[in-house]
Symmetry: C2
Subunit: 503 residues, 2 copies
Amino acid sequence: MAKTAITPTRADDYPEWYQQVIKAADLAEVSPVRGCMVIKPWGWSIWENMQRVLDGMFKATGHENAYFPLFIPLSFLQKEADHVEGFAKECAVVTHHRLKPGADGKLQPDPAAQLDEPLIVRPTSETIIGAMYAKWVESYRDLPILINQWANVVRWELRTRLFLRTAEFLWQEGHTAHATAEEAREETMKMLGVYADFAQDFMAMPVIKGEKTAGERFPGAVDTYSIEAMMQDRKALQAGTSHFLGQNFAKAQEIKFADKDGQQQYAWTTSWGVSTRLVGALLMTHSDDDGLVLPPRLAPKHIVLLPIYRNDEEKSQVIPYVDSLKKELEAQDYVDGKVRVMVDDRDIRGGEKNWYHIKRGVPLRAEIGPKDIAKNAVFLARRDSGEKKGVDRTELVSSIGQRLKEIQDGLFTKALKLREDNTRTIDKLGDFLAWFTPQSEDKPEIHGGFANCHFTEGPEVDELLKKHKVTIRCIPLDQPAEMGTCIFTGKPSARRAVFGKAY
Amino acid sequence: MAKTAITPTRADDYPEWYQQVIKAADLAEVSPVRGCMVIKPWGWSIWENMQRVLDGMFKATGHENAYFPLFIPLSFLQKEADHVEGFAKECAVVTHHRLKPGADGKLQPDPAAQLDEPLIVRPTSETIIGAMYAKWVESYRDLPILINQWANVVRWELRTRLFLRTAEFLWQEGHTAHATAEEAREETMKMLGVYADFAQDFMAMPVIKGEKTAGERFPGAVDTYSIEAMMQDRKALQAGTSHFLGQNFAKAQEIKFADKDGQQQYAWTTSWGVSTRLVGALLMTHSDDDGLVLPPRLAPKHIVLLPIYRNDEEKSQVIPYVDSLKKELEAQDYVDGKVRVMVDDRDIRGGEKNWYHIKRGVPLRAEIGPKDIAKNAVFLARRDSGEKKGVDRTELVSSIGQRLKEIQDGLFTKALKLREDNTRTIDKLGDFLAWFTPQSEDKPEIHGGFANCHFTEGPEVDELLKKHKVTIRCIPLDQPAEMGTCIFTGKPSARRAVFGKAY
């Protein structure tokens, strides 16, 4: 068996492989604070790239950024009944604003500094942002409000997993208010589209756009839409959501406006978000048994140059060559910017250095020693395919954009093929259950994949799905009109849903 | 008296003028959450520009970004005695992780979900970051660690003021660890220099770099340095701090490393930060009685184009002209990017529209109507000087960078003159007291300005200063060697300090 940089492999133990890739690529770490993670520089720079791209997409669709308080007074959260029900069980509650020494001399919350009203660390900001919108909106001329916030949020989680599920996470939350339901619905779908474009064009991660069923809606929403992706263990990951909130929050928060006829109306609102979870999704979509694989469009560095020399004389030849190559490569355009180049001239063994960058997922590595220089060439390795070959320097510079495009496209194609190979259209309950039966007892996670089935919503279906740990991921927006029969109840069905085991 | 857009004027009531400029420029608002502010899109985009520039400066000096937990366990805060003493009296304490209905049916913190150890919402992150560094550092080869974090922090404040003093604020905090004291001291001074360069070159705000006296040090620091600026009411504002922490935090957090000889040593650490307070500083440095004045390097938009037409026929002529001018201007380089242009084609009166942009501080406004187009010109107004004149279109495009530079430089020169005009070298206590006596009873804020005086540290000096509400801002780094006599005690003194009333 070939030796791999990551132990265990995906096939051996997928969940543990995930943790080990994070460790090997130095992306993040568990912190001493329960449920909270530390995002390390390499992981953070991926998130920074995601932020930069998404921020540009939000601005291009007419949104502005703003910032709202970290704390939400308890009474605000309570204004929307479903909403508070959804978040009350997992929130961080601030009750005091001062510490003082207790009888034992140790610091404790000062009883004299108890807050009149507890503050909740925001799990999401509909209620506090809605309270501001209520102040800002008077007339239809004040609408729409199209605002996004980049922020940290807290949802108390007991079973956490780096990036995928943590008590504190970072995200963006868009909150918009509109004069009509149509406009708000249009916004909801537009931002779902932005998320899908981002996932596919930048993360190289194919996604299914669809509507959530009632049981999976955001607490307080009228409709929730999501993008769903298949990870390499064939489980589904919800990668972004966009909610049409109707007038629920507008009524709870009194967001009212005078329409053109001077009549008072409630506004129609939306919200939409993606989070640092996307870093986990990116990892699980492309990485392999040697560590992280990064799509070039989000890679902090596109190529690492590795100078090779045995003595000072060689060094004095190699280093200037590498520096000038770096400058030349950095002058090349790549998508919305320039090629991102790093030089690794650390004094460690060449093998160790190569593996360091393999594990961190840098798309291209170029070794450059005196022999390469003599031929005016570099020894180029691709992270995605493992291909290694000598490449003429001039050709490397002129074709780097094209090479990165090939890698980006190849990763998408491979991920799409995985999903297609592991998706079935299923019309019989027996087939459905077989599809979701684990392939072996010691690997309960590995099962068929996605199933497209006719269905109806209802408690009996929910119960059966729960028993088999299968979930309805979404009702895809793009599907042929086709009447069918619910595979669970035999009732008539007008639409199929995507079913899968889920993160 | 000339009518001003802001009431009251600076001369009439400076503190209230400050609030009214924030309101008129739509920068921020008080939120319903005690002490927390809402930063609105225009205010946020100024902060975004500050972040972008500073982030580039940090990266250019070798720092990487990362992210650490929002919460700090109480026991961590307690590890450094001075540190916890400094923050225990003003912190948000999380004590529960769930809400449940009480006897009255209303939600309350669930007694069954009380945390074993309270969590403090970070007031600053030395302790939690130090705990991670202790895990990351084993040998001298792991040093230095040069990390920055962009984050929100909370310090419970009772008397708050938008941007200047709020319970929650946004900032960056750099945290570095080094093998030697010399390196850590060098880092401390380097980042103080970065802050000074940013303040002067981008904010157009002259600052004095200096060392803080013992009483003004960051809790737990060996030495604290700051940059200090004079606002238009002649009060001082501390705009950024850089701390040499010695081995205090390394000892508290056990950040140890094996040196080249294999001996265990404690690391030497630093921390440094600037916050959203800088937006308040920017406002108070340049704004006037008509509202915000923005230095071009941080202005979200450099120029607003105001199309003028009376009917559809004129509109069909003016709009394409304005659009093409926008494209041409946007293609012009300005410092680290391009010229930022907006078109305001809202259907509101021209006067109202002009005042809107005056109050928001856009550096240049260009009105463009059929008559201007006939002359291939625009009617250009400068926000800083109020100057208005017709300018040839070609000249506008070719000289926009130069015009913006003039504005940027002019704002700095003006601010520097204000400081110089209101700074005295004072060698007698009587003169000192007269300098800090309010100029009239109804305006207790308006006094002389800054004073450079010989001094010694001690309780008697502290008491006298406190009585007169004067503070030692810093001991300037750049000052001539000159022995003198402390004006308070008559003792010999080797250095002067800057004294001022402070925000």
